[in-house]
Amino acid sequence: MFSKHFRRGVVVAAMLAAFAGPASALSEDEVSVLAGTCANCHGTDGRSPGAIPAIAGQDYDILREQLLAFKAGEVEGATIMTRHATGYTDEELDALARYFSEIEP
């Protein structure tokens, strides 16, 4: 079996060929699996019950910017998100931003 990153690369290429435009190579199931790991801290579906900020229903562009900034280590005072965001490709972070932005807060 290939790694998810490698497999995804193949799918991206295939979809680009099919639609001749930027396309997310991540299936719904794959994005929901990625998003499942965020729920441990941000709550089921990103609806936080406690001290960690809720991320459900936030603006897509803001979420995306935040995630990319965490990954780049550019968020001053961040305690932990840089260590998480570095575990995902930019494309995955984009899909996660989209996913949480479309959940009812």
Binding site: I52, I80, T86, Y99
Partner: protein, 429 residues
Amino acid sequence: MITRRNMLALGAAAFVAPLAMPNILRAQGSAGRVVIVGGGFGGATAAKYIKRRNPDIDVTLIEAQERFYTCPFSNLYLGGLREFESIGHSYEELTGEYGVNLVTALAEDVDGDAHTVTLSNGETVEYDKLILSPGIDINWGALEGYDEAAAELAPHAWKAGAQTQLLRRQLEEMEDGGLFVLSAPADPFRCPPGPYERVSLVAHYFKEHKPNSKILILDSKDAFSKQGLFTAGWQSLYGDTIEWVGLSDDGRVVRVDAEALEVETEFGMVHRANVLNVVPPQKAGFIAERAGVTNEGGWVPIKASTFESRQVADIHVIGDAAIASPMPKSGFCANTQGKVAAAAIVASLAGNEAPAASWTNTCYSLIGPDYGISVVGVYEAVDDEVVQVEGSGGVSPADADADFRLREAQYAVGWYDAIANDTWGTVPA
């Protein structure tokens, strides 16, 4: 034409409202039967996430206890920072909101060929897919002198419940000026930072109530999780209260005399404690062995992408019982493994391929109530092995200031509230 936008919107509708997903191709009741043994971090999460993905799958959860007490935050209880009931969780969300069948019984045997589980109440349950998340059992017999009777005098408190309450009582009853000894095991074991968080919060309790007391950790290893951060935190909060003796300095306990509250190390040193906490060698919960999925070390080899046993088909093993290194045996990992197994099983029952796996770990540890540290890893499956995503994770910075440590302590509580909510539906008090 399918644009990216409407493709994603279609997808989003499906995950925002999974309960409303039409199951066009599935006849009612024929979506499959999943049996889950163990309603802890792994099993309860798997039950919920199977139902969220496909409510038509029949899910039966077999759990020995009516109420689940978490090891996470049991150290806060030991340190006097929490009530015991605050770490207890029930199964109401799973049964009420998600329609999981809960059976309060011990699973005693598994027949992997017949696809059946035998229960202590005499029932036999059939499955298409079985998930085992039984956690650990103590490997009685692996440490001389440490058996179930000894644990009533020198508790392990490595499964939360009566053992944890016993240890708390002993700490409360100990005279000021006493010595608390913790014997820590070699890898692998449940919660690598757990022993070190425990002594930290016991030190906090001593500082407030028994300031002349000392702590000795006798360790069967030469290095431990977040060691630099723990050592620095101990220095800054507790001075020289805590002494750690590693393997090379004769830290390995080879014999326990629970009546005398004494332990003997490899080279014959005898240490006498006022309160003795033995964290003993461990293995997968016994049902894993009954199911024929364990190896000679007592743990379960799995295929990473689905957490299915490498030895018996249709049995998925998640949580502490599974060999998932480099993922540690943590509640956080058990939860994310439950989600991956859920996705794989739902796909398989529908005749589809499992989506790519992804897991995360974060172990927050409290060194004091306002002093938190953490270790993070993000993991993926490569050639059916678990690997850490390159460049991800790491530990809290060594040079962080008090405000950073405080915020990590607050986020640790936020994490506990979130994972308890995600796993059992518990709403924080």
